[in-house]
Amino acid sequence: MIQLINLSKSFATKKVLHDINLELETGKVYGIVGENGAGKTTLFRCIAGLEIHDGEVTSDFPLLKNHLGFLETNPYIFTRITGVEYLQLFAQARKISSINFHERNIFDLPLDEYASNYSTGMKKKLALLAILLQSNDVYILDEPFSGVDIQSNIIITEIILKLKELGKTVIISSHIFSTLQDTCDEIHLLQEGQFTKKVLPEEYSLLESEMKTITIGNQIERLCLS
């Protein structure tokens, strides 16, 4: 289990996260939704230990980061590194040896080419593959579906379900509501750095229409399209 206790984060005078409290149970999939700038990525970085924050993040692991795979929204890929070398970097970082990367390349990525030349979606798939091959216990996937083709979306959804089956904890953020509906045990709505709602599967359709109303409102009219 992972517990977030009064987790807060400020950048200079701007408070981005306000006293977040959340319990993440082992073997469950959690969805975090919210507008751009709501604080989703900052929350993920705090859980991962990549940001200094107030409050606590506790877990059953002596050091959570050593059991955590974090997929960033826009994974950074070094220039002049091939796909297979990127995977080797991640494996080596966890002291994992002898993985046949080509055999486990489920996304059919051109692993012997420079990864910096990959498309946005391919980079995301490579980064996802890298953390999956580390065999982590907890996964934070920040927008795993964005920029990825429809076939890969299906594969990623299945991967998340498989991780759940294996008793892994998964935290996802996504703007594609249907993918969250298919995978999450509960969804939390993050607004201006605070959790304002916890939604269970039976209420997902309600949340979707509610979010649509909040998000769209009369914004389209303001464009004065003609």
């Binding site: 974090f70 070094f78 002049r80 590194i81 070398e85 080797q88 970082a93």
Partner: protein, 305 residues
Amino acid sequence: MKYYFRLQFSRIKRQIEHLGFPPYIGMVLSIIGFFALSHLLFYKISLAIYIYPLLAIYTLLQFSEKDRNRFIGLCYDKKTYRHIRVIENSLLIFPFLVYLSFRCEFLLAGLIFLFSFVYAFFPPISFSTFAIKTPFYKYPYEFLRGFRISYPIFIGLAILAIIGIVVHNFNLAAFTILIATVSCMSFYSEVESPYFIWIHKHDSKAFLLYKIKTSIIYISIILLPLIILLAFFFIDKLILLFLFCAIAYLYLITNIVAKYAIYPKQVNLPMAIILAIGYLFPPVLLLYIPYFFKKSIVQLDKILT
């Protein structure tokens, strides 16, 4: 087009400021440094006249990266793009031309200028599509990508070492060890995102030792063939060669621990001065290394524990 060059000038000023220099003083120091190094090269090495044009061409190629030029091409029409490329290339090689003119090497200066002019009209050579095989696969990433970026330098150094042997010029051959070491040190110049440190399971001490061990193994792969070759032809300089090798290791280790001692900042002016003193008097590095090592652990603990 004027805006483009104003923007580039602002970028250069910001870069110099970032290094801890007032921009205009930094520019003056860079110019003095360039001419001092050029003079040193010609003073120390008899075959510098062959090395210098290669350095000029290498500088040109470094600034002709495919994606960068494609971006400029997208922003401007074809005619303006050509103008920008010609002006950029001319500005880049201008210091080389000035120094060659100072040495009355007008023909060579003219040839380099001609090359830079013609090169602006050709699509940039892409070094980024074909993944060159390297012996550095097992422990990515610094030597892997660094070698791929700098491999023309290593080819040039191998040629220079052979010339040094043929003309029995030990200074020239030894110069290749120095440049190879400096090139390897440059592999660590980029400050990586904390994410790429965070992914490691090691604690801070183990992480640093892992980085140092990898660097020593990999620089040995680059330097040892050179040193063995030189040892064979300059047997009387054997001790000196091993001393160079030891200094290369010291330089590289200092470079790594100094980088993480101030992580995530880049090396600034005070640090650069401290390091320069150490590089000029290598025994001092034996004091630097444990000091920077401890400071690195403090910085890395923020990410790794």
